[in-house]
Amino acid sequence: MINKTFIIIISICLIQFFSNNSYMVEPDEVLENKKQELRARNISKNIRCMICQNQSIDESSAPLAKDLRILIRDKVKDGKKDKEIYKFLTDRYGDFILLKPPLRLNTLALWILPFIFLAIGIFIVFSYNKKSKKI
């Protein structure tokens, strides 16, 4: 029941916003420099919208998403590098805000295991192949 209440509360907060609502990347946000705009959008696509479920701020219609999109564009215009922008956001919101999990000690297993799985798989196929030739 706690979860349900929370959802209702958040939706109410969002609904309050709807009268001055915003939808995804707005034309007013778009930077003039196409290269910068592309950078900003690529960064945004990797930033999680904190109040939505599983959307990036690039797609989200939430006000916080819009604020973050504008913030990212400001920083891109200021000449900040991608790494610096990500650090700015993770300092405040934690690694949770990144949709692509960063390579850290606690995500080592996450990034390495798929390749280990693949290696095991390839090993099995090759050993099958080898053993079949022995017969």
Binding site: P27, N46, F96, K100, T107, G121, Y128
Partner: protein, 628 residues
């Protein structure tokens, strides 16, 4: 009266499930008769229970808590019906119904020759069914009353009032729940000795084909709904609950192919027994993830953890028992047949391994944030970029192999012979690919790879169809053709998408690709349970002919205080034109988001063809079963 009867039927079904469990164990003269009573009783009582729940929803009996929480008198009839399974308690009743239907068909296989085997299968199936019915009665009874009854209900989320979404759960459940039959057969195979004459893999295959076919179309409908309804421009988001349906799909695809090897070469039996256990376990774990309240997702039913603990315990019991059984009793099913990978069985093995690797990776990505949270109290996200980096590169060789696999012979293949066989399709692939690139003129690396792969599959299978070679199963050819088309759609829509976001006032024009779009006017409209602002956009081609009028809406549903955006889409074989209306007013104009999505329709067409391939295969398999 109806709620009382519905509840009574539910308890009755529990009785039949427990009875079936016990009568299947015992050896008695009247065993067959008792089992018949149990299986039939189980099916009838769960059906009555389910349809009575549907009845109280249709007549809007708000004294039933489930109806009050999820329905409203203004809901259209279709959605009152689909609302039955659109909530946790009602969907559990659907789970149970499907379990009892599969149970019934297992029972129909019963004959003198296989009585011990089918009894054991039914015993396992009964145990599973008992577990789910008990869960429903103890923690999630849809017939709980709310007295005094309110005048009206809490309505229902309007986003979920859609046709595709309405049929999506039942189809998915036939998939998930259908794997219970394969699981039960696997348990029976492992538990019993002296079953050399029992064609357990034929029984299993029939159930797996049915479950796989419906799981495929269920997932496709969910994706289709997301695309047409959500307005996010996409159809797959690697949401944990989506992953929960994808994992059984991956394993059951591997299972389906491995069963062919068991049939033809009597090999890989142990692997098949393990896969069928894992596929169903993943279905149950999926159920757990959705309903336990452990995850936040668009799909989750927000519930309290005590329900989660029950399902977890049940998963532990099923998983523990089946894996220990496999560990101790599977030895005789391991064999020393090895294959070279340049053969049909070799290519199936490669496909299997790749499906398993992808499944393991998706599982890792889904579960990892929970592991991190439990161990470090830190939260991380594993989103689309992760899966794009890991899963997509692995699926590419799988698809490549899928093209050649069916052509290869059983046993070793002569390489030069193979080249002769595949030469026509290489040629056809080249021609089709060039053709597509001439039309779309977009040349990204991934796009090229995807298109070539897609046409590789399509041309191979088209040639099979044309040659009408009896050697190849027609169900497989159709299904593989479907996958080729699916990949065509996925590649086109992901890599060649064009997007435009602008602010438009009435009478403004804009251009995307070769289309001119004019913002004609804004209307206020009323629907049955909503009011909306609707934009009218005229779309012209380069010759100034009007192609269509797109009418995206922003809706408000007063009963649930919900806002939704209704996307407007014009579809043809080449591309979708997709418009979303944003915020705005007459003075400043409106924010408009326009997508040009090439080849999207092939995703849905491809899925449908895979489904047809599955149905054709089902027919063949079920006919075979009758002979057994």
């Amino acid at each position: 009266m109806a709620p009382f009867l519905g509840n009574f039927s539910l308890y009755l079904s529990l009785f039949f499930a427990i009875s079936q469990f016990f009568v299947s164990k015992k050896n008695s003269k009247l065993k067959a008769k008792f089992i018949a009573i149990a299986a039939n009783g189980l099916l009838i009582s769960s059906s009555i229970s389910f349809f009575l729940l549907m009845y109280v929803h249709i007549v809007s009996d708000f004294s039933v808590l489930n109806v009050f929480q999820n329905s409203h008198t203004t809901k259209p009839l279709l959605y009152k019906i689909s609302g039955v399974w659109g909530n946790h308690e009602g969907s559990m009743l659907l789970w149970i119904l499907v379990l009892t239907i599969f149970n019934y068909f297992i029972f129909r296989l019963y004959n003198k020759k296989n009585s011990a085997f089918i009894s054991k299968t039914l015993e396992t199936q009964a145990f599973i069914t008992t577990g789910f019915i008990l869960f429903t009665i103890l923690t999630s009874n849809p017939f709980e009353r709310m007295i005094p009854a309110q005048e009206n209900g809490l309505g229902f989320n309007p986003i979920l009032q859609d046709l595709a979404l309405a049929i999506h759960p039942p189809l998915l459940y036939i998939g998930y729940v259908g794997f219970s039959a394969a699981f039960s057969i696997s348990i029976a195979t492992l538990s019993l000795t002296n079953i050399e004459k029992i064609p357990w893999y034929d029984y299993m295959k029939s159930f797996v084909v049915v479950a796989w076919t419906f799981l495929t179309i269920g997932i496709a409908l969910g994706a289709m709904w997301a695309y047409y309804e959500l307005g996010w421009g996409g159809w797959w988001f690697w949401d944990p609950v989506e992953n929960a349906s994808f994992m059984p799909w991956l394993l059951s695809t591997a299972l389906l192919h491995s069963l062919i090897i068991v049939e033809k070469r009597k090999s890989l039996q142990a692997w098949v027994l393990l896969l069928s256990i894992l596929a169903f376990l993943l279905s149950v774990v999926g159920t757990f993830l959705v309903r336990s309240g452990i995850l936040s997702s668009v799909h989750t039913f927000a519930l309290d953890p005590s329900r989660g603990i029950y399902i977890l315990a049940f998963t532990a019991v099923l998983g523990g028992y089946s894996l220990i059984l496999f560990g101790t009793k599977s030895k005789k099913y391991f064999d020393n047949n090895y294959f070279t990978f340049f053969s049909k069985e070799g290519s199936i093995l490669v496909n299997n391994i790749l499906m398993a690797v992808v499944c393991a990776t998706v599982f890792l990505g889904t579960v990892y944030p929970l592991l991190v949270e439990a161990m470090t109290n830190n939260k991380i996200s594993v989103g689309e970029p992760y899966y794009n980096s890991t899963v997509v590169p692995i699926m590419i060789p799988a698809i490549l192999v899928m093209g050649i696999g069916p052509i290869l012979e059983w046993g070793k293949e002569d390489k030069s012979k193979t080249f002769k066989k595949i030469f026509p399709s290489i040629l056809l692939t080249a021609i089709m690919s060039v053709f597509i690139f001439l039309i779309y003129q977009s040349y990204s690396v991934i796009g090229i790879a995807g298109i070539i792969l897609a046409f590789w599959i399509i041309s191979n299978n088209l040639l099979f169809l044309i040659k009408k070679n009896k050697k190849y199963s027609i169900g497989m050819i159709i299904a593989h053709l479907g996958i080729g088309l699916l990949i065509l759609g996925i590649t086109g829509s992901s890599t060649w998408q064009e997007e435009k976001i602008i602010r438009m006032k009435i009478n403004d024009k804009t251009k995307i690709e070769k289309y001119n779009i004019v913002f004609e006017k804004i209307n206020e409209i009323r629907g049955s349970n909503y009011v909306a602002l609707q934009g009218n956009f005229l779309v012209y081609d380069e010759k100034k002919n009007i192609i269509t009028k797109l009418k995206p809406e922003n809706r408000f549903y007063p009963t649930t205080n919900n806002f939704t955006t209704e996307v407007s889409i014009h579809t043809n074989l080449y591309r979708d034109l997709y418009i979303v209306l944003g915020e705005g007013n007459l003075n400043d104009g409106w924010v408009v988001r326009i997508y040009y999505n090439p080849l999207v329709i092939w995703i849905w067409i491809g899925s449908l063809i895979i489904f047809i391939g599955g149905i054709v295969s089902m027919n063949i398999n079920l006919r075979k079963l009758k002979i057994l």
